[in-house]
Each structure stands twice: as C-alpha cells, then as structure tokens.
C-alpha cells in the first residue's frame, strides 16, 4: 500500500485539476486488529455450516450460534470503526490458493474505511435483525435451516466486502445470491415463492454474467485480480485498460445494477418479499442490495478517472435517477406493505447509485449508512405488524397505533428518517446527495446531472407521499383485519427501538462543517477519493427540499388519512367486525388512481411482462423445444438416416432382415452401405456372414498389398 501510494503522480495531476478537498488519508495498518479481521467473514461462514449440521442439537436450535456469530461481527466491526476513526486503518492481506498462468488466485481481506463501514453495518444491523428473528420465526418448521441460511447470507456479504480481489468479490457476490435464493424460497411448499427465488437468482445471474465480463476485462488488462494492483497499474499507465475502460466500467456497473436492483433489473426485488420479513430487513438494509453500491464505491478510483470509465459515469447517473423516481412511483400503488418498502428501497438505492455517478462518494455511502438503519427499522416494523395481523396487505390493517404503540412510534421515526425530516438521519444524507448533484450541475453543466437534480427532488416528494400513505393506512383509521392485533414481544421491540435510535441520530455523524465522521471514515482508502467538500449544509437546497417533502406528506395524509373521504370510517378506535364487502372498499380506497399513469404503474411499467413474454417464455418454450427438436431430428438424423438407408437397402435386396440395428452394421461392417448390402445379399447366414465379411476384407487387403 505505501508503495502504491507513492506512485500516484498521475493522480496528483488529476487532483490539481479537479479536486479541492481530496487528500490522501494518513492511515496506519491497523496492527493485529486488521491482521485478524479475517475472522469477520470466516466466523459466520463456519457457524452457518455448524448450524446446518449441529444446529438442531444446540441451545436455541441454532439461533444462539447465529446471533453469537453476528454479535462477534458487530463487536469486531465497532472496534474496527473506532480504531479507524482514531488512527485510520488501511491494510490488505492475501493468501495464495493457486496460480493459473501468471495470475495468482488469492483469498484475502482488506481493512479500510469502506470495508469497515460494511463490517459495522452488517454486524450491528444483522445482530439486531437476528435477535428480532428469534421471536418472528418462532414455530417455523425449518427454524434451524432458516438460521443456517441466514448466517450464510450475512457471511457471504462479509466475504464480499472484505474482498481484496475480483475472485473473492465474485465468490461473495454469488454466495449472497445463492443464500438469498434459499431465503426467498424459504417457504418452498408454495411454488410462487420458488418462482420468486428463481426470478431473483436469474435476474442476478444475468447481471453477474456482465460482472464476470467486466472483471475479466479489468483483470486481464491490468494483469492481476487484485484491486490495489489494478489501480496502481492503472495510475502508472501500465495497463491496456484504456481501450476497454468504457466496456469494463459498463459491464461492472450492469453487475452492480443486478444486485442493487437498478432499473431495469429491479424486477426481482419486490418478488423477493416472499421471504420471511427479517430476511427482507437485512437484505434491504445492509446486505445484498447494497452490494452493488459497495462495488461501485470499491472501484471508485477507476470510475473517477474519466480516461478509463469515461461516459459510464453519465450512464450511472441516468440509471440511478430513473430508478429513484420510477420505483418511488411504483410504491404508491402497492397494497402489500412490504412491497411498498421494497420499492422504496430501490428508489433509495437509486439515490446512492446516482450519487456515486456524479462523484459524490461520501454522500452515496453516507446515505447507504443511514438507510441501513431506517430501512431495517421500517421492515422490522412491518414485520411486527404482519406478525400481529397475519397479513401483508394494508387493506387488512388500519388503526394499529392503539394496539401497537411501540411499533407505531418506532415506525414513525423510521418514516421521518426516510422522507428526510430534520434532524432525522435521512435528512442529512439525502441533502448531501442533492447538494453534491447540484454542485456538479452548476460547475459542470451536463444534462444528466441536471436531470438527476430534478428527479431527486421529485423523488423526495414521492417518498414523502407514499410513506404518508403507508402510515395513514396502517396506523390510523379502523382496524379491518381478522386476527387480533397485539404488540410484539420485547425481543422484537428492543431491536426496533435500538434501530430507531440509530435512525434518529445517525445523520448527525456527518453534518458538513460540523461533524464529518463518516467522511473521514469512508475516505480512509489506499487510493485518493476526489470529491467536492462542503463547508456547511446547503441551506438553499434545504429550503427547497423540505417544503417539497412536507407537501408530499400533507397530500398523502389528506388523501389517505382518517379525515379523507376515501377512507373507510368505522366508529374509530376499537376493532370492529369488518366484513368482506367493506374490505373491498378498503382496497378500492387504497388505490390512488391517476389516469393514464395508474395502469402503467399497476403493471410495473410492463417490464415483468416484457421479460416473461419476450425473454423467459420464448427461451424456455419454443427456443429450447426447437433446439431439442433440431437435435433429435436434424443433428441426429445423419447417423440415424445413414443407418436407415443401409437398413432399407438391406431390406430391399430380398434379405430376410427386419432388424433395425443391422443397418448400422452395413455402414460400418463394410466400408460403405452398398458393399454391406451386397455382401448381405450374398450371405444370408448370420455367423458366417461375419466370417465372409472379414475374409472379403482379407482378400481386398491382400490384393492391395500384392498390387502395391
């Protein structure tokens, strides 16, 4: 690393031209703390297998082991985070596990600001979710199995974020994918869930193919799988990456789009809600979907050098911006509370991706950080509600604030953080993204960036609107469900409260000009990060965005709140018996019908249909069938026909031979079918026929020998 840092001349020039705030972090190597950080990914992986084999016989049926593992990660991650903030840690370790040609295949772990951020998030959020899951999953037929795959899920993410090279990154990437497949398909008796799991896996696999290609291009051009090595050679100008930079950048970004569910790869995420709610919470907060954002951040030195990735950044900005708005719109029309939150996640991921696209590295990761808290909180809240009312649909809810006060208040904190109410977490992080975009737009007027600025402000409005809708329909009005709602047990409430504290305060860690903890944290990298540094919050933008958000909340409340005429008004307060027709009214009321737009949203922009009818069904159906048909009838026809011709020839010359396979002997026994059938005609016998054939061969060969 020091060697790499020493050779940054080209970057130095780059910095002079573009940057004003970038500086190389002065960092230590973390000592033993970093040297033993391999435990972070390894412990959960090992524990996952231990649970699989011994979980049933262990105390708490595997939950104990899983939680202990995550607890270990949380503690280690926190210690690392503190150490990083104090001294800065940049270290990298690799173990060779094989050489292929001149390439070394290595497992390793990288400990720097970025990976520590992820360790911390996965550990802390994961621990809280695991604790929560103990109660949520109680009574599940595959309780132990669940914790085994859930631990594998967290472990895979840790393998991914600790990766110092592409190979390990891909390993972690796919481990996350396969464990999410297991978790989404957890209730596999129902084929719908399996279909959702397959959809997630396949969508990711398509993107992964692109990631493979991107990784291959980068590694081969630079001559190493290792990120630090690639960056060093890139900066020294030793690579042939220049000519492929755009394609490598694009392919890797497509990979990131798959995991981070960016438009148009978002289709798997809402369906992934088929998994148990704790899975959704972790998947949306700290693992899986953040992997794409992490990947772009990890490769940020590549994306910030325009000579390599060039216009990919523009594409990233546009994709992010489209995602943040279009997915927010989809959240409006959902009845399933988890789906609303799922679309909301995609929308927020759009913010992060777009932020990285405009070069706002810290802002993107800061939003990732705060989002982890409030989105985990919202999902746990939703899970708590679902646990109580035994339904995912908001048309079965209503008026729950009376029954579940703790859930209500924590959910409200999460909502505030998500929509960006001062001083909750989302306010600070979203504001930083919009400020960065605006700064870029004014200094470097480019259509894409202006596009993003406008869409992100619109997105803030939409977010406020649908969150107001969710809160109104769920906690206000009359309860419409069948089950008897009740507050969740303490083991579920405590994690929610803990997360609520995080959601409320996490934003305070990075107030421009005041507390720049996260900035210091995530820019502790071996390679310099170039970005604009704000000396103070952009009051001008806050003055625009906050009213927009408040307007969104207000409209949402007006339309769906208890005072709205759309709202089903019972006697208010206590639960009433609500019959089916009234439930139907409730569903009607929920659907906010904007002409033209509504059918589009209802059908998710027709993208799912496009994939199904344009890609999946033709491939699985006609194309596959046609291939098989060709195989059986065309490719295979040559030998079969050859045999057939020989066979009919044989039959035709008055030989008592109705056995199909003898046709084969004609082809090979004699050199040609004709000779075969000729000889067959001569020798109707069986055993003797072969004698005759062989002696005929002898005669021919002998004659040849004599002649030549």
């Amino acid at each position: 690393m020091p060697a790499a840092v020493a050779q940054l001349s080209r970057v130095a020039v780059f910095l002079q031209e573009h940057g004003d705030s970038a500086e190389l972090a002065q960092a230590g190597d973390g000592g033993g703390l970093a040297a033993y950080a391999w435990l972070i990914p390894v412990v959960p992986m090992v524990v996952a297998f231990l649970i699989l084999f011994f979980g049933k016989y262990s105390p708490w049926k595997g939950w104990g082991m899983a939680t202990a593992a995550l607890g270990f990660v949380a503690v280690y991650g926190t210690v690392l985070a503190v150490a990083n903030l104090r001294d800065g840690i940049v270290a990298e370790f690799s173990v060779n596990v094989g050489d292929i040609g001149t390439f070394a295949i290595e497992w390793g772990w990288v400990v720097d600001g970025l990976s520590i951020l992820m360790f911390f998030l996965v550990g802390v959020v994961g621990l809280l979710v695991f604790v929560y899951a103990n109660a949520y999953m109680k009574g599940d037929a595959r309780y132990t199995w669940f914790f085994a795959s859930f631990t594998l899920f967290a472990g895979g993410m840790l393998v991914l974020v600790s990766a110092p090279n592409f190979i390990q990154l891909i390993v972690g990437w796919e481990l996350v994918g396969v464990s999410s497949y297991l978790l989404i398909g957890h209730y596999w008796e129902d084929m719908d869930n399996i279909d959702a799991a397959n959809k997630a896996f396949m969508t990711n696999k398509v993107a992964d193919a692109a990631l493979f290609i991107g990784a291959i291009i980068m590694s081969l051009s630079a001559g190493s799988f290792q990120f630090s090595e690639i960056f060093t050679r890139m900066i020294e100008g030793q690579t042939t990456l220049g000519q492929f930079g755009f394609w490598a950048g694009l392919a890797i970004f497509i990979g990131a789009m798959g995991k981070s569910a960016q438009f148009p790869f978002h289709v798997w995420l809402p369906d992934a809600m088929a998994g148990p709610t704790p899975v959704s919470a972790l998947m949306h907060a700290a693992t899986m979907v953040t992997a794409g954002v992490y990947l772009i951040a990890r490769l940020f030195p590549f994306y910030q050098l325009p000579e390599f990735s060039g216009s990919v950044s523009t594409i990233i900005v546009i994709i992010g911006a489209i995602t943040l708005l279009s997915m927010g719109l989809l959240a409006i029309v959902q009845d399933d509370i988890k789906r609303v939150l799922a679309y909301s996640t995609v929308s927020q991921l759009g913010y992060m991706v777009a932020a990285l696209g405009v070069g706002a590295y810290t802002a993107g990761l800061f939003h990732l950080f705060t989002h982890a808290f409030f989105k985990a909180l919202l999902f746990l809240g939703a899970g708590s509600i679902i646990h109580a009312v035994h339904s995912n649909n908001m048309s079965d809810m209503g008026g729950l604030r009376k029954y579940m006060p703790a859930t209500f208040w924590t959910f409200l904190v999460g909502t505030a953080a998500l929509v960006g109410i001062f001083p909750f977490a989302g306010f600070w992080s979203k504001d930083e993204i919009i400020s960065s975009a605006f700064f870029n737009a004014t200094n470097n007027p480019e259509f894409a960036v202006w596009f993003m600025v406008v869409l992100s402000i619109l997105g803030a409005f939409i977010t406020a609107f649908y969150m107001a809708r969710v809160v109104s329909l769920t906690f206000f009005g009359t309860y419409l469900g069948d089950a008897k709602p009740h507050e969740s047990p303490a083991v579920m409430v405590v994690p929610m409260v803990a997360l609520a504290v995080g959601a409320a305060t996490a934003g305070l860690l990075n107030i421009p000009g005041l507390t720049e903890v996260v900035t210091d944290w995530v820019t502790t990298r071996a390679f310099p990060i170039v970005e604009h540094h704000f000396a103070q919050p952009e009051y001008f933008l806050i003055a625009i965005v906050t009213p927009v958000v408040l307007l969104g909340l207000f409209i949402g409340w007006r339309l769906f709140g208890p005072s709205s005429e759309l709202h089903y008004t019972g006697t208010g307060g206590e639960a009433v018996d609500v019959s089916a027709p009234q439930r139907k009214v409730a569903v009607e009321r929920d659907t906010f019908r904007i002409p033209v737009l509504y059918p589009v949203l209802e059908n998710k922009y027709y993208i799912d249909d496009l994939y199904m009818n344009g890609l999946v069904r033709p491939t699985m159906g006609p194309i596959a069938d046609a291939t098989l048909w060709v195989d059986m009838n065309v490719v295979d026809a040559v030998p079969n026909l050859g045999a057939g011709v020989a066979r009919y020839a044989a039959a035709a010359v008055a030989v008592i031979d109705d056995n199909a396979v003898d046709g084969f002997y004609n082809v090979t026994g004699a050199t040609t079918g004709a000779t075969g059938s000729f000889l067959r005609q001569l020798f109707p016998g069986r055993v003797q026929q072969y004698v005759a054939l062989s002696f005929a061969g002898v005669v021919i060969f002998a004659a040849l020998f004599v002649i030549f």
């Binding site: 000889l679 001569l682 020798f683 016998g685 005759a692 005929a696």
Partner: protein
C-alpha cells in the same frame, strides 16, 4: 527350370499322387450331402496331409496328425454327429442354397487367386531341398523344451482349460431334486 525338369523329378509325381486325393477329399468334405461321409472324407484329407508331412521329412508331425486327428478328432466328430441326431442319409439342408454358395465360391477362388498371385510373384520357381533324412524326433523334443518351452506350457494350459471347459459345457445339469 522347365516343365520337363519338373516332370522328370520323381518326387513331384509322389507329390501329385498325394496332393490330388487330399484336395479332392477336402472338396468332398465341404460338399458332400451325407454328413457321415463328409467326416470320413476328412479322414482321407488329413491322412493325405500326414503323408505329405512324411514326404517333407516331418516325421513326428505326420504321425502326430495321424494319431491326434485320425485317432481322436474324427471320433469326436462322429460322436458329435450321432449325438446331434444328424440324418445319416443324404440331406439337402447340410449346406446353404446355391445362391449363397456361388458368392462363397467366388470369395474362395478370389482368396486362392490372390494368395497364388502373391506366392508366385515372390517365390517364382525357387526350389525346396528334399530332406536327406527325416527330422529326428529327439531334436524336435529338444527344441520344444528349450526355445519353445513357454508356448508349450501355455498350450498345455489351453488343453487343460479345453478339457475342463468341454466337461463343464457338455455335462447335463441335473434338474433340481423335487422332494
């Protein structure tokens, strides 16, 4: 060497005297319509060949042929014929019909033609020395037990295997006792 030289050599007359009956007998073996006669013709053919061996001085081989073939193998054949209840009179289905015989004959003639051609091309009219005296059986024995001892042992194993194999194959499996 002219045809005259050849005809004046008395050994050649002896050769013809032995070879022609041998050949005719073997033709009868493959064409006779009576199965027993076919086998008896085989005796003549083999006897002829034994005599030819004697003429070449291969005394031991000749007498072995007489002993093994005429003494033992023929008996086996006859037993085989009897046990398989072959018709002892003339029979048409001993051979394939003429449509199959013709190509077989063609093939045989071709084979003979090719071999004859090859032989004539390579040996021409080279002569073969008539042996002064018959090969001593003792020398053959010596050769067998020095140069050829391993093949000899192998052959003995084969014979043993054939013996056992013949017994196993031909033995009639007694049906399981029904109590």
């Amino acid at each position: 060497m002219t045809i005259g030289d050849w005809l004046t050599e008395s050994a050649n007359w002896a050769f013809l005297f032995l070879a022609i009956p041998t050949f005719v007998a073997s033709v009868m073996v493959v064409s006779s319509r009576n199965v027993v006669r076919a086998v008896l013709y085989l005796v003549i053919a083999l006897g002829g060949s034994a005599a030819l061996f004697l003429m070449l001085g291969a005394e031991f081989v000749g007498w072995t042929v007489v002993l093994v073939y005429i003494g033992a193998v023929i008996i086996l054949f006859l037993i085989g014929i009897m046990i398989t209840r072959a018709p002892l009179t003339k029979s048409v289905d001993l051979s394939h019909p003429i449509s199959a015989k013709a190509p077989a004959a063609l093939l045989s003639v071709l084979l003979f033609g090719v071999v004859a051609w090859a032989v004539v091309e390579s040996f021409g009219l080279e002569t073969i020395p008539l042996p002064e005296e018959a090969t001593r059986t003792g020398e053959i024995g010596l050769s067998i037990f020095t140069s050829w001892v391993i093949p000899f042992e192998v052959v003995s194993f084969v014979l043993l295997a054939a013996l056992i194999g013949g017994i196993v194959l031909a033995r009639k499996d007694e049906p399981a006792e029904v109590p």
